[in-house]
């Protein structure tokens, strides 16, 4: 016993050292696959670190309108003061004095209205008349301020084009969402990459602190959304879920095992292979990849739930007065075959190509083999000879299930019929459903985006890679011109181009060239103002500004970012830098048919311009990984069958073992279909785990009869069968307790795995019983 506890302490210590040397990485980005096409590579990189990932959407509700407006203003002020956000948008969005000055200075270089004909007397005359009319109105202070220096209205036109597109009603310095329930909206863009969990956590904390500092009245709520919140929320939800469910499952499992073996020591014995397996899996992944992803660790440990079976089988199958070592030697061939076959079944995960799943597969595979070895060689040495660790005998009416292949085949036929009739479970095409983010949080995100008029960017054009900012902007302008044809065909309604906020240096230079000479402009103005009550000097500021504009250095991104934060905040999500390369992003609006637009975009023939529909691309990506995984799963199944034939010596016996395994998968798929579950990669992983468990049940139940060196008396035979059945039932109940808990999880992925394994284990156990040979005599109700 002391030795056992000592060993556990050593294993735990080793685990601690390993975790300290190579701590698990929580960076979601590393769990995602690298892209296979330029489009998917760009997409995945943007998903991981693009500007869109740092967006935080917020709503405040649960208070009267005036109070909400105050909360919005004060929270926004707090956010700006925190220095953690590059941009904070609330209803008070307007250009600051210095920003106005900068944009005003560059107005003729930025305005698309700057053309030679705009400065002729004929074009100026109506502008001057409109100015005069405006000066008579109540808006005269505003017009007097800009009108004489900019009678063509270039600046006000720009401001309206840049800022006047908000779909949200600003009221009292806050954005009120449309709808019955008063709700104000806020947008903030954090600094740092979106999936950098720590930066996101700090940004979210800053948001909550700013809200709390605004002294919300009781009942007022802050709702937060955005990729950053998702990352944090996902991590928190999984952690909370796993902790709660693991605790519950561990307690249930421990209670069950203690009851079953009437001993506390059994818990320590079960823990040894599990701990050793976890250590081995962790070490294997660290050796291959340098670190373990936290999610792979979580899934890996979950899959190692199988190895709890090994010590249970050893202890339950041990005969009265048989030394544990002898029992281990006796069951070793079966145990070895079971572990190797289960590890081979994980082949599909390794072959999927998804870094996260590959790590999980390696983790679980290495763990399985080490757990089997530990059970065989280590466990017997840990238990003193005199220790009486025997399973409580069970009175099994379940024995009637044995050797009834016909009903089992009928059930399998029904399952196959369900699958054939329905075409099998839907494949999960929506990446959102794979996301560990709870559905409610995803719904909130969609709602806030809709209300802000900032729908999730779905269809976009990618411009690049370009060497310079100027080239990128110039290509964006070319795209803008070329896309008019697509707009005319109704494929999209608009394109938000980076060049909309900042024209390329070439275009700015051409606008400078379009500006008239001082004398020409003065003459045109004189002619245009004929008969109007303007003083001769009225437009001196205009003439001077045009002259100055002709000599300005074209505006670039760095100057814009430094001097015009509001406009730069609009532009920055549309520009992406990666090393020395610069990319432009142009989200398309009003896209009804992305596939048609993709075809149309391909016909534009613009080099370095790529159309990308996020949903379409992700679906293709998932389908590709799904196909790869499925292929490897089939290969894995082939390998497992081969191993069984090799290990059992006869094809017929291998088939008896393989039937419950394949059958359990079949039934699980049918039940999942009937439950309306859409199949994701994680379900597939769960099916592999399930196959591993089913191998145990089938092998041990099939081997129960003909263990070498076993007495051949009928009574013993029957007793052995009962013991084996009891052992496998103990394993199945243990698994059901653990994974049944998981199926209660609110995290879609965990729920999917839990549900799949729970259904599958029940099916596998019953099928293994039904397919296993029945003893020649059966004495119902018999116990010892």
């Amino acid at each position: 016993m002391t030795r056992l506890l000592l060993l556990l302490a050593v294993l735990a210590g080793l685990g601690g050292v390993l975790g300290w040397l190579a701590p698990p990485r929580a960076d979601l980005a590393e769990f995602l696959p690298p892209g296979r096409t330029p489009a998917s590579a760009f997409l995945l990189r943007e998903l991981q670190s693009g500007a869109a990932t740092t967006l935080l959407l917020a709503a405040i509700e649960g208070a009267p309108r005036a109070e909400l407006a105050r909360l919005s203003r004060e929270t926004a002020a707090g956010l700006r003061a925190s220095g953690r956000f590059g941009f904070v948008g609330d209803g008070s969005l307007r250009l600051e004095e210095s920003e106005q000055a900068l944009l005003f200075r560059y107005r003729y270089l930025l305005s698309p209205e700057t053309r030679p004909e705009a400065f002729t007397a004929a074009a100026l005359r109506p502008k001057l008349e409109a100015l005069l009319d405006g000066l008579r109105s109540a808006a005269s202070p505003l017009l007097a301020r800009y009108g004489f220096a900019d009678p063509t209205g270039a600046f006000l036109g720009l401001a309206a084009a840049w800022l006047g597109e908000s779909h949200v009603a600003a009221e009292d310095g806050a954005w009120f969402a449309p709808g019955e329930v008063p709700r104000v909206l806020l947008v903030a863009r954090g600094q740092g990459a979106g999936l950098d969990a720590e930066a996101q956590r700090l940004a979210i904390a800053a948001f909550r602190a700013a809200f709390a500092a605004a002294r919300p009245p009781p009942g007022a709520r802050l709702l937060l959304s955005g990729p950053g919140v998702f990352a944090a929320e996902a991590a928190a939800t999984i952690e909370r879920d796993v902790r709660r469910l693991t605790l519950l499952a561990t307690l249930l499992l421990a209670g069950f095992l203690v009851w079953r073996f009437r001993s506390l020591a059994v818990l320590a014995l079960v823990a040894v292979p599990l701990l050793a397996a976890t250590l081995a899996g962790y070490a294997a992944v660290v050796a291959l990849y340098g670190s373990v992803h936290a999610i792979a660790l979580g899934f890996g440990v979950t899959m190692l739930g199988v190895v709890v079976d090994y010590p249970i089988l050893l202890l339950t199958l041990r005969r009265r007065d048989e030394p544990l070592g002898a029992a281990a030697t006796r069951i070793w061939p079966t145990l070895r075959l079971s572990a190797v076959a289960a590890a081979a079944g994980l082949l599909a995960m390794v072959g999927s190509g998804l870094p996260g799943l590959v790590q999980t597969g390696i983790f679980a595979g290495a763990g399985l083999l080490v757990a089997a070895a530990t059970t065989r060689w280590l466990l017997p040495r840990l238990v003193p000879e005199e220790a009486r660790l025997l399973a409580r005998p069970m009175h099994l009416s379940l024995a009637t299930l044995r050797g009834r292949p016909l009903p089992a085949l009928a059930v399998l036929a029904a399952a196959a019929a369900v699958l054939l009739a329905t075409g099998g479970p839907d494949r999960q095409r929506d990446l959102a459903a794979l996301s560990p983010v709870p559905a409610a949080q995803q719904a909130l995100d969609a709602e806030l985006r809709g209300q802000l008029g900032a729908p999730d960017v779905r269809s976009l054009f990618v411009i690049g890679p370009m060497a310079t900012e100027g080239e990128m902007l110039q290509r964006a302008e070319a795209l803008g011109a070329a896309a008019q044809a697509l707009v005319a065909r109704g494929l999209l309604t608009g394109l938000d181009l980076p060049s909309r906020y900042l024209p390329s240096p070439a275009l700015q230079a051409s606008r400078q060239a379009a500006l008239p000479e001082e004398a020409t402009l003065a003459a045109a103005l004189r002619e245009a103002a004929a008969g109007l009550p303007f003083r001769p000097t009225a437009f001196d500021r205009f003439i001077a500004a045009v002259a100055e504009s002709r000599g300005l250095q074209p505006l670039d991104l760095a100057t814009l970012a430094a001097g015009a934060p509001t406009i730069a905040a609009r532009l920055s999500p549309l520009v992406s830098r990666h090393g020395a390369e610069i990319w432009g992003i142009a989200p398309a609006t009003g896209v009804a048919d992305p596939a048609a637009l993709e075809a149309g975009a391909a016909g534009l023939g613009l080099p370095s311009v790529l159309f990308l529909d996020v949903k379409l691309e992700l679906e293709r990506l998932l389908a590709a990984y799904g196909r790869a995984t499925l292929g490897w799963a089939l290969a894995g199944a082939g390998v497992v069958l081969g191993l069984l034939v090799l290990g059992l010596g006869r094809f017929g016996r291998a088939l008896v073992v393989a039937a419950p395994i394949g059958g359990a998968v079949l039934i699980t798929l049918a039940v999942l279909t009937l439950l309306g579950e859409a199949l994701s990669l994680f379900h597939l992983a769960a099916l592999l785990l399930l196959a591993g468990l089913a191998i145990d049940y089938a092998l041990f139940l099939a081997a129960g009869r003909a263990t070498p060196g076993e007495a051949r008396e009928d009574a013993t035979e029957d007793a052995t069968q009962d013991t084996t059945l009891g052992a496998v039932l103990t394993c199945a109940v243990s698994t059901l307790l653990t994974f049944g808990m998981l199926s209660l999880s609110e995290t879609p992925v965990l729920h999917g795995i839990g549900l799949t394994v729970t259904i599958g284990v029940a099916a596998a156990f019953l099928l293994a019983c039904a397919f296993s040979p029945r003893g020649p005599q059966r004495r119902p109700g018999r116990g010892s």
Partner: protein
């Protein structure tokens, strides 16, 4: 008691209102007492870049606590209505109608709060936006409002409001080198 004696007894009460200059607080209190009013105005804008002034006229409507409407009837038809923090601008002759938050237009807000704060007799609101100077003679009072915000001062340097008792007589707005003079009289 004779009528004369009765009148004499009232003299001490009537006296301050008749002869002494009212204080700012008294003027504000008097203005606050008028819950609704309707006035006519004539306005002449002098803009330095223009050779001629820009005259116009119309009506002003006030409804306590915060509704103000300036309806220009000549030479253009224009309505500016303020209620709470919202401003509605309408030009029927152009088919233009726009509504926005007063806070989005600081220049407009400066003008609106000057007239509205005065009519409401809300000295605290006025002081929130302006430095308030005050002088009075037996003939009337005069309030000089200087915007506190630097940004607003770029467009509006000074607003002078004059009145008599509880009546508003004029609003002069100086800014951008020009001046806008508004004369106000009660409408019948």
């Amino acid at each position: 008691m004779s009528a004369t004696r009765r009148a004499l007894l009232l003299v001490p009460f009537a006296f301050p209102a008749l002869a002494a200059e009212p204080t700012l607080e008294q003027v504000m209190q008097g203005l606050a007492g008028v819950r609704a009013r309707r006035s006519r105005f004539t306005e002449d804008k002098v803009i330095p870049e223009l050779e001629t002034g820009q005259p116009n006229e119309g009506t002003l409507l006030w409804q306590a606590p915060d509704r103000l409407e300036k309806h220009t009837t000549w030479p253009i038809d224009e309505r500016v209505a303020v209620a709470g923090g919202r401003l509605t601008y309408e030009r029927r002759d152009r088919g233009v109608k726009r509504e926005f938050a007063l806070a989005e237009q600081p220049e407009m807000q400066a003008l609106v709060e000057a007239v509205r704060g005065t009519l409401a007799g809300d000295l605290a609101a006025l002081r929130q936006h302006y430095e308030v100077g005050f002088s009075a003679t037996p003939e009337g009072w005069r309030m000089v409002l200087v915007p506190r915000s630097l940004r607003v001062r770029g467009a509006v340097q000074r607003i002078t409001v004059t009145g008599q008792g509880t009546e508003l007589r004029g609003v002069n707005v100086e800014g951008g080198g020009g001046v806008d003079r508004m004369r106000i009289a009660p409408a019948e």
